[in-house]
Amino acid sequence: MSETNSEAFEVRSRALFQDSVDGLDMRIRSRLTQARSAALEAEQGRPWFLGRKIWTPAAGVTAAAMLGVSLWIGTPIGQQPTMADAQTNFEDLDLVAAADEGSGDALDMLQDDIEFYDFADKTANSGPSA
């Protein structure tokens, strides 16, 4: 088979295919248009940040925040958590969360009285004297 014949065959195949595409009936064309619209509507209905990669820094910040919170309310290494500890931790969290938004009372309280809390922590960890 010669190269020229192969080329002629390819050209003819392409032309026939294109003719068949141009000759598609209106029903098919209409359904394709509907399919396209449906696909684009589905895309437009999605939140914009799901299709983009800019959520990555936000995910990093969220992960860091979660780690921070878990360290803040976590139990010291080598010490077995008890039900009482867990309850205390949740109460601390409630105190912080219950503060009026924007006032920053809870955080201010924690910062101002840091020495007192350090003293209280040491006292609690030393156990009963008797």
């Binding site: 088979m1 295919f17 098919i28 394709l32 684009l40 895309e43 914009w48």
Partner: protein, 194 residues
């Protein structure tokens, strides 16, 4: 927080690539449909796989650069075609086991409307072209799937070797081999006079 490469305004960006995507889909949808129809025969099945491919492309790859859309779209389309062909094979096997539930052996129930004569008089040349295309389609269906895919992407869709390799997830060398074998096999089947 400062980002090295701040993203463009989201609404504007989405609108922009949605427009580009619409243009891209409008440009290829008819050829994609015909290619799916060649592989599957049934126009409704072909429409289904084209629609699925459009949805998957817009959902998962809309944010990719426009140059990647065509190979991605055709890869999704071909996967859809293969899935449907596998389902058909399984269904036909099950039907063969169940007496009284046998389908049309070729899996193509005739639509009565297809047999209604076209109101416009058929031009002989047009009729000959349609017959030639029909023979080409039949021969394409007899090819191995990879050869058919390579031939349709290269010849019908006009993709270059690199783009076809990307769509078929194989090397450029494989594309050349599949395509060359497809052309030879088709010419053998159709004969010199086709």
């Amino acid at each position: 927080m400062v980002w090295d490469n701040p993203a463009p305004a989201p609404e504007g960006a989405v609108l922009e690539y949605t427009k580009e995507l619409e243009k891209f889909l409008a440009e290829i949808e008819r050829r994609a449909f015909r290619m799916a129809q060649v592989a599957l025969r049934d126009p409704d099945d072909a429409l289904d796989v084209v629609q699925d491919a459009m949805l998957k492309l817009t959902r998962s790859y809309a944010s990719r650069p426009g140059a990647q859309w065509r190979p991605l779209f055709y890869r999704i389309l071909e996967n859809g075609i293969r899935d449907l062909q596998r389902r058909r094979t399984v269904r036909n096997r099950i039907m063969a086991w169940l007496p009284g539930l046998k389908e049309d052996p070729d899996g193509e129930t005739q639509d009565p409307l297809e047999n209604v004569a076209d109101a416009a008089p058929a031009i002989p040349e047009r009729l000959m072209q349609a017959q030639a295309m029909q023979r080409l389609e039949e021969s394409l269906r007899e090819l191995p799937a990879r050869q058919r895919e390579a031939f349709m992407l290269r010849n019908f869709e006009g993709m270059d070797v690199a783009e076809t390799a990307s769509a078929m997830a194989c090397s450029e060398g494989s594309v050349k081999t599949h395509y060359s074998r497809a052309v030879h096999a088709l010419r053998d089947r159709l004969g010199e006079v086709w």
